[in-house]
Point group: C2
Chain length 343, copies 2
């Protein structure tokens, strides 16, 4: 049952039926009611393609899902991010079209996005330092928002980012204030822009107190629990082990925690740990009253909402210049940090 049939059934023109359904004023209340009833009765549902073709709006946004091909790891943050973005978008009638992009096909990238008309705008996730995708997105000519930023990239683009640098600066300061000097940074892959910035924040905080980072205490890899565990285990077995850890995610922190316990040490006493908490729904940092870790906290769901909202703004008015949102992580002191043990 299409519009034509429905109009014929009602003895009305397509114009009137279309207007009645879309809430235009040029139709009497009686007719509108009649149309709505008939539509319901016959189970009429407009064809989104035809509508989209006629209006020019796709009522969908694209979300590019990147898998770090190297590690075959899907970003654990993805689920919450997309769920929150979808929530905001759905409320405005927008769908999400997902495209998977593996690093390998960077050139043939965004192939499906190149099929015009499928989406009105794009959200790009997990940018790398100097990510070439920004250029591609510019060429496509659709409004887009980057979740994160791209260092060393001067083209103007809209982004929404957490202040990773500041967050890790704060976390490091916290540990320094407690007297720690040998602090390990268990970071994500530093090609990822956010990891790069976190490292900078860490180093800056040390430098501000005339300390130099020990390169043997800085690790970088995909942020899994075992990575946290294995790295912490290795570092703790070193001649001059760290007295504190800075973990780039909850999962990594849990791995570090496990290694600490296995070494017969107690977290918060013998060894301190600060984690960054993305506020994943399935991986809460204990409870607000009883956190598991001292943490910098920045909910990814908030990020998802904001990205979606920014994109909708850009879609509504593409002339609106690049817009930026910087989120500050909150700092939460928990039981996983304490004064540095006296040598």
């Amino acid at each position: 049952m299409n519009l034509k049939d429905l109009a014929a059934t009602l003895g009305l023109s397509q114009t009137t039926v279309s207007r009645a359904l879309n809430g235009y004023p040029e139709v009497s209340e009686a007719t509108r009611k009649r149309v709505h009833e008939a539509a319901r009765e016959h189970g009429y549902r407009p064809d989104s393609r035809a509508r989209s073709l006629a209006t020019g709006r796709a009522m969908a946004v694209g979300l590019v899902l990147t898998t770090s091909a190297r590690q075959e790891i899907v970003n654990p943050v993805f689920a919450d991010f997309v769920a929150s973005a979808a929530e905001t978008l759905a409320a405005r009638g927008y769908d999400i079209v997902m495209s998977l992009v593996t690093e390998a096909e960077q050139t043939a990238v965004y192939r499906s996005l190149l099929r015009k008309g499928r989406v009105d705008g794009l959200i790009m996730q997990a940018p790398l330092t100097g990510d070439a995708r920004i250029g591609i997105l510019h060429k496509i000519g659709l409004p887009f928002v980057v979740h994160g930023r791209v260092s060393d990239h001067d083209e103007a683009y809209s982004w929404m980012d957490m202040d990773n640098r500041h967050a890790f600066h704060t976390a490091t300061d916290h540990l320094l204030d407690l007297g720690h000097r040998d602090i390990a940074l268990i970071n994500g892959i530093e090609d990822m822009d956010f990891a790069h910035r976190r490292r900078e924040g860490f180093i800056d905080a040390l430098a501000a107190r005339n300390l130099r980072p020990r390169s043997d205490l800085m690790a970088s890899a995909a942020m899994t629990e075992s990575y946290g565990h294995d790295t912490a285990q290795r570092l703790l077995a070193q001649p001059q082990p760290p007295t504190a850890f800075l973990a780039s995610s909850m999962l990594v922190g849990m791995g570090v925690h496990r290694a600490i316990r296995e070494a017969g040490l107690q977290m918060g006493q013998d060894v301190s740990v600060v984690v960054h908490d993305d506020g994943l729904s399935y991986l809460p940092n204990g409870t607000p009253e009883q956190p598991l870790f001292t943490a910098t906290h920045s909910p990814v769901r908030q990020a998802g909402h904001l990205c979606a909202e920014m994109l909708l703004r850009l879609i509504a008015d593409p002339s609106e210049g690049p817009i930026h949102t910087k989120l500050q992580a909150s700092f939460l002191a928990g039981p996983s940090t304490g004064p540095a043990p006296i040598q």
Copy 2:
């Protein structure tokens, strides 16, 4: 630049240009080449809506993301599932359109999916026992595949499921063989069909040895780390604590592990733990050589691939009756289980 313009530029008809680009044989090689070159040069990209409208195929499948509104928890399995499904689908030129569905709007549900023509088929995730959505999907009339099954539902539908019952039967048997009698089941929310089945497998295995489950040793909630921790902590403090735990996910298992250590006990010695491992990319069960937990293992990425393939088959030939795929979890003995301690 649209097809018309391109054709005009080339001095050809739209028909010929369209055929040249889509690889139809009725066009000379010379012309085809010329058309391709012009298309590249002018950056021509066909409008997916127009094409879809003309062909009747959307070249996209819908994926329904459910958030358990009650707990506001996004399924951690989602990211890997969708990534693997997207991989398979992308290889065949299909996109994924995501819709968020909260339990609240079950009636107004699938609203965006009701907009016809957006997708050629659907994948439904995380079905509840007696899930009403199956009926809705049937009404929509598009081919669909359910990831999981729906107990107490007699309508025919295509599904792909892991044999949860068998997996948990096996896991329970393993613990029983080791002499454990007081086994705790730390399950997911039992409205979820998979959790329901796991519980059945657990109870069946006990019943097969004339044992009755202790209801005080069965828990059910959203599968977070803290849930695992808090529950295990509580149970271990009981007068007659369990000697073994069956955890419904890696994350839960990690929480249980933490509680065990905190209680001054050793996992694999004092208390045994078996987990179910979905093979999440960011949450591996140690390494294959050195697993962290004894586990039943069924990679969700495989499930994603299979669901996508099944759906593509159904789309290609909708007359093909409901198809079913049942995956068997593998069992991996690890260091987290050992003989029951002598009383």
